[in-house]
Subunit: 196 residues, 2 copies
């Protein structure tokens, strides 16, 4: 009932967004001009305005997609039932997986600083996500499952700082097997540390 089964040469909002996010991530949002986008998309600058209201809407759509993926994790069954430490491990592993699956969108999300209205909205949703994870860490500490000599809020920040830093260096390419090792490594280092 949707798109034609034949060749598709025209842009949808989604396919335009995919091109846009790549440019945003390499040039930076402020460093990207609408002409940069038009050149990357292969259509004229003014044609972009046929699909979206403007530059900031492209940003809002992109970070919204990343946030939707991350928040969906918190509603997955293993994230809402069981021992807190196991729920936390699930969230940690799945967050890493979603970050890798939606890499360009999450990358853009993590670079938002809050200068425009869309960015402030994204920061608020991110903070909400962080708070819900911090609650999980607190619960695990209360159960005696996690060390109590590091503040839960601080531990949460460092933990997700580690996960989020993946966007700084990971580039897909080799194959799907390269991805699989990363969530495991994250969970191991996060819970058991570097020491042998």
């Amino acid at each position: 009932m949707a798109g034609s089964p034949i060749t598709r040469t025209t842009y949808t909002v989604d396919s335009l967004l995919a091109v846009t996010v790549e440019v945003f991530n390499t040039r930076g949002y402020d460093g990207t001009s609408m002409e940069d986008l038009s050149r990357a998309a292969g259509i004229s600058k003014s044609s972009i305005y046929h699909h979206v209201r403007g530059k900031e809407e492209l940003l809002r759509l992109a970070v919204g997609r990343a946030l939707d993926g991350l928040f969906a994790i918190l509603d997955e069954p293993p994230a809402v039932q069981g021992r807190p430490v196991e729920r936390l491990e699930h969230v940690v592993r799945r967050t890493t997986e979603v970050l890798l699956a939606e890499l360009p969108y999450v990358t853009l999300l993590l670079r938002v600083r809050g200068n425009t209205e869309a960015e402030i909205w994204a920061l608020e949703r991110r903070r909400d996500f962080d708070h819900r994870v911090a609650d999980l860490v607190r619960a695990a500490v209360a159960e005696g499952e996690l060390r109590a000599d590091v503040e839960p809020r601080l531990a949460t920040r460092l933990l997700f700082g580690m996960i989020n830093s993946i966007v700084e260096w990971y580039r897909p390419g080799a194959g799907p097997e390269a991805v699989d090792g990363i969530p495991d490594a994250v969970v191991r280092l996060a819970f058991a540390g570097l020491l042998a």
Copy 2:
């Protein structure tokens, strides 16, 4: 032989740089106009060009300062002698301390993406730093002091991703005692993990 001992109301390159870096960090480098800088510094736009060649030189000076602080760590005695795992722990702790001490400059450094010449130069120096730390991790693994089931390069990236993420949330204010806890927490989580 240097500056007059009396009141100083005029700008030096350093004091101008301090103002500049704050603006760069809140607005972003591309999002900061020279008029933004002139407004924050309280002098006219053209006066800035009396102190520096232009916008990019301000960026180069700022990230250079951050890099100098980080590289100095690798030359400290505890970083060059002793068991690899102890040398690594020293580098981890000191990197966290330098990051906190030079917070605005390191923050700016970590946001560089490599679009201008100054940014490419900064990225190259960062990569050099990372490689030297990764060598340390490899040495510790070879000695059997660190777990061997996570690739040294990956472990290094995640470890320093955790440290570097501090710039995303830490804001000085409360007092010096708030800072002291962070390097300890980083070392504990990095080497021993979250588990109780």
